[in-house]
């Protein structure tokens, strides 16, 4: 059930039979699976996860210290749902969509107390509703009936709830109002008896309906060279970022949240560090949306369930996030969801599963781990919505494999589903090569379907250039094996030169400084120009070598090292033009 409801007490109360950490068993509770219940004298929020005889097992979203048998359990009779409506953006929630800023005020303490609840959106705030339908219009499920300016960036579209009508059914609008309303007031009445307000609820474990899933053909441009250039993700695509600790998962996720060209960002901090979430909370309101200069928070909804917050709420926070994402998708927006980290989510499942004494699968994870991961990533995609618009949900999940070992179940089960794989590497990180995405291991299965977009929008030979870079890097990998044994100077000249070209690819192109104001975001045009500059150097250098210039002289030229500065140039076009000319001139002057 949604916390916005003020349901009258339901009579099917039960009594606690036993308590073990977040798992509570109740007797005589008349409940359905996944119903939300309130547990104990303090009314801790929980969810039904198992029913056996007259015993009902509940996972509790709050700390259960001091809760004992005999205390009541009250059923709400409704599944865990989120409140949807204007106010979801620019908000920060815990895993069950309680707004953390409101909780701080209600609790009067910096600590999260128990048994305090608040609706996901402000029910009293008034919004300016502007209707887009008239009395007599026929509307179907999901159809837009009005618009609210939710933030400076985003117009919130008020829709007929998807469960108000059956598929293909339409009904007549019988009354419409425009003006200032709070989210609970009716703004549109329909002939079938539905009162449409700006507030909807949706059970988190159920995907919102859509008409059709389509093949994604537009990239989610991230402004990160190695991602856009080598391993792009599509709008509506799925990606995994696995890596051991310290390899930069969170920074990569933050970069995507800041610079990806999605309309809406849903950022789920699932079981991660408190200070990291604080950084997001402090930074995002100050940062500008690269698309329009508005505050970044105006397109962002944050869900923060840090590692020390209750484990059951960690299990649900991923669902809360994806349901919010689907709601904005229904309005026709491109939504990107970042989940950091899905491993913590899987561990929450494992913890609860083991408290239920279920038969464990691999490494103690429940046997349904693969199914749950697949269900989650399947809710991403490029969709034709029920109201005829098109929208997308891109899902990007960080994975934290124990010991950095990618053969563990969460990484493996994720890889079977996602189509983009960005492998983070502790060794690159240790050498301070950031982003430390390993170019030999990573892949993107969207490359081919996205190439036409890049060729139309950026350059005709986008795919060709990328292949050149991949070839050079592959060759370097092989050569480095020899270098390790005999040293670089023992290689023939042309191979030494290949290493030099590869070095520019690594240091200028693949490395990108997330903390430099200019380099942090690299538009695809700049990514492309940088690559062509390195290729210019490569072509000219090999020409010089063929003409008999010793490799030491080529390596020692003055102009080429300026390639490393392209990243930090704001007026890069001019810089690149000049640099290419200088490189050619200098190298040609050697012979």
């Amino acid at each position: 059930m949604s916390k916005a409801d003020t349901t009258d007490a339901v009579s099917d109360d039960g009594v606690i039979q036993s308590v073990s950490g977040p798992v509570v068993t109740a007797r005589d509770l008349d409940a359905r699976m996944n119903d939300v219940v309130y547990v104990g004298d303090e009314g801790l929020m929980g969810e039904v996860i198992e029913i056996e005889g007259d015993l009902t097992t509940v996972q509790v979203y709050e700390e259960t210290s001091g809760v004992g048998p005999g205390e009541p359990v009250e059923n709400t009779g409704e599944p865990l749902s989120v409140d949807l409506g204007p106010g979801v953006l620019d908000a920060i929630y815990d895993g069950v969509q309680r707004p953390l800023d409101v909780l701080e005020g209600k609790m009067g303490s910096p600590y999260l107390d128990r048994g305090v609840d608040a609706p996901g959106i402000d029910l009293e705030k008034e919004w300016e509703f502007e209707s887009t339908v008239e009395v007599g219009d026929e509307v179907g499920r999901g159809d837009v009936v009005g618009i609210v300016e939710e933030t400076v960036t985003i117009d919130h579209k008020v829709m007929v709830p998807p469960d108000a009508l059956g598929e293909g059914e339409t009904t007549e609008v019988t009354a419409v109002e425009s003006g200032s309303f709070d989210v609970t007031e009716t703004v549109v009445e329909l002939a079938n008896g539905t009162d449409v307000s700006m507030h909807q609820e949706w059970p988190v474990r159920e995907a919102r309906p859509s008409a059709n899933k389509k093949t994604p053909r537009t990239p989610l441009v991230s402004g990160q060279r190695i991602l856009d250039g080598l391993f792009p993700i599509a709008k509506g695509g799925t990606a995994a970022i696995p890596g051991p600790f310290g390899s930069g998962k969170t920074v990569t996720q933050h970069q995507l949240a800041k610079y990806a060209d999605a309309d809406i960002i849903v950022y789920v901090g699932c079981g991660e560090r408190g200070n990291e979430m604080t950084e997001v909370i402090e930074d995002f309101p100050e940062l500008e949306d690269p698309a329009n200069g508005n505050p970044l928070m105006a397109r962002t909804s944050l869900i923060a369930n840090t590692s020390n917050m209750p484990v059951a709420a960690r299990e649900s926070c991923i669902y809360t996030g994806i349901t919010i994402a689907e709601y904005y998708r229904d309005m026709g927006y491109d939504v990107a969801l970042m989940a950091d980290s899905t491993s913590r989510w899987a561990e929450a499942m494992r913890e609860i599963s083991s408290r239920l004494e279920e038969m464990p699968g691999e490494e103690g994870y429940p046997a349904y781990l693969a199914a749950r991961l697949a269900q989650f990533y399947e809710r991403a995609g490029y969709f034709e919505n029920v109201n005829g618009t098109e929208g997308s949900v891109s899902a990007i999940g960080a994975v934290s494999p124990p010991g950095g070992d990618f053969s563990e179940p969460v990484t493996q089960n994720t890889l079977r589903i996602v189509k983009t794989f960005w492998a983070l590497d502790a060794d690159l990180a240790e050498r301070r090569h950031f982003p430390s995405i390993n170019w030999n291991e990573s892949y993107s299965l969207y490359k081919d379907q996205l190439d036409p977009w890049f060729e139309d929008e950026v350059a005709d030979d986008w795919a060709e250039k990328r292949q050149w870079a991949v070839d050079v890097l592959d060759e370097e990998t092989e050569l480095q094996e020899i270098v390790q044994l005999v040293g670089k100077d023992a290689l023939p000249d042309d191979q030494q030169l290949t290493l030099e070209v590869a070095r520019y690819l690594r240091e200028a192109y693949l490395q990108q400084n997330a903390f430099h104001p200019v380099d942090t975001f690299c538009p695809p045009e700049k990514t492309y120009l940088m690559l062509t500059t390195i290729q210019t150097f490569s072509d000219e250098a090999f020409d010089a070598l063929d003409a008999g210039v010793p490799v030491e002289e080529i390596v020692d030229t003055e102009a080429a090292p300026r390639i490393n500065r392209i990243g930090v140039q704001e007026d890069y076009e001019e810089y690149v033009e000049e640099l290419k000319a200088d490189i050619s001139e200098e190298l040609r002057s050697l012979y």
Partner: protein, 492 residues
Amino acid sequence: MKEYQTITEISGPLVYAEVDEAIGYDEIVEIETAQGETLRGQVLESSEDVVAIQVFEGTSGIDRDASVRFLGETMKMPVTEDLLGRVLDGSGRPIDDGPEIVPEDRQDIVGAAINPYSREYPEEFIETGVSAIDGMNTLVRGQKLPIFSSSGQPHSELAMQIARQASVPEEEEGDDEDGSEFAVIFGAMGITQEEANEFMEDFERTGALERSVVFMNLADDPAVERTVTPRMVLTTAEYLAFEKDYHVLVILTDMTNYCEALREIGAAREEVPGRRGYPGYMYTDLAQLYERAGRIKGRDGSVTQIPILTMPGDDDTHPIPDLTGYITEGQIYVDPDLNSQGLQPPINVLPSLSRLMDDGIGEGLTREDHADVKDQMFAAYAEGEDLRDLVNIVGREALSELDNKYLDFADAFESEFIDQGFEQNRDIDETLSIGWDLLSGSAAGGAQPDRRGPHRGVLPRGHRERDRRRGRNGRGERGADRGGRGLRASPR
């Protein structure tokens, strides 16, 4: 308060008793044995007729006739500013023959999570006086930065050095009118009496005890008590930091013993084990400790944590360091090879990391040039370290002049920058000056890493196995059996 003589089962540290009233989860229990001894415990699982109790002192001496009393409250820590200068046992009872402690408050030791919205992002420098930390992996207030060590390494000396020397710059400038003083809370879990004596002697000798609270759970104290000690420590820390405005540095040693205790309880309860027999909820459990570090908006104090853990087999893929690394904001590696070379402290800066460093250094915090010096030293030292492998094969003569300079730099860096001794206290200016001298000194004059960049800076996977072990483990002799990270899936 009801008393029961209804014990039905005793197994390891656990006692099961039948009850006929509601007992709260986590409640405190007293068990009186026939000999008149009183043991304390905590409710692990509560159902209508049976409760499972974990007994802190161990179950020896308990029989079916022992009486069980439920105190009707969860575990509390009596807190007061007067705790400073005191030595307590692992359950928070004084053991130093001092006066009775009159608590100002009794606080629940299971701390509630700090609302992420109420936190303040840590970005103020703590000076430890250790160059390898201050210069290369800076600690900031509100951070949790563990020391990854292994058996036989001088991590205790390092911890004592930090406890003794740590200060916040504003304290030095003398403007502590706002009351933000520095305090150290030391939580020992399962350390030996000998180690404990060393700590205590050092604390007393240097006068550090005055600003410290010491919690001692020794190796022969009950293992189960270890699960309570860090919570006592952190409750005290939070009280001093957020109610009394202290900058509190918490040192927890040894977290490995804590995790062993968790495993022991998990095994006794016949839980489904996770990796290597540790309970599946160990991540959550550790997070509930480590995440109690931080700063809070509108409060002057801060809680900074330095947990110390000894990695079994010096393997950082073992569940304890692994889960810790995923929660903490970086880590400091103590390296057996540097130790055998006699470096004090033997910190390997290359795999070490402080995630919050970038926001905690620079003008107004440490020094304007800090980031530059650090970056150049990292690059030059990494390059020098890399070359040492090659030297073993081809000899120094076969290397270029530049490569030789990198090698010289790496040697000088270790002997002058890292090896400062456990007694020397360097302020940040001194640390950075030594760094500058090394970089600009004749040895590394040509090794300006930002001009040409390290040639072998980054190698693709596969060739790096060996380097990695060297980076983590010294020169690679000991890495052969560490398969964990090598087992990566190949995507293609």
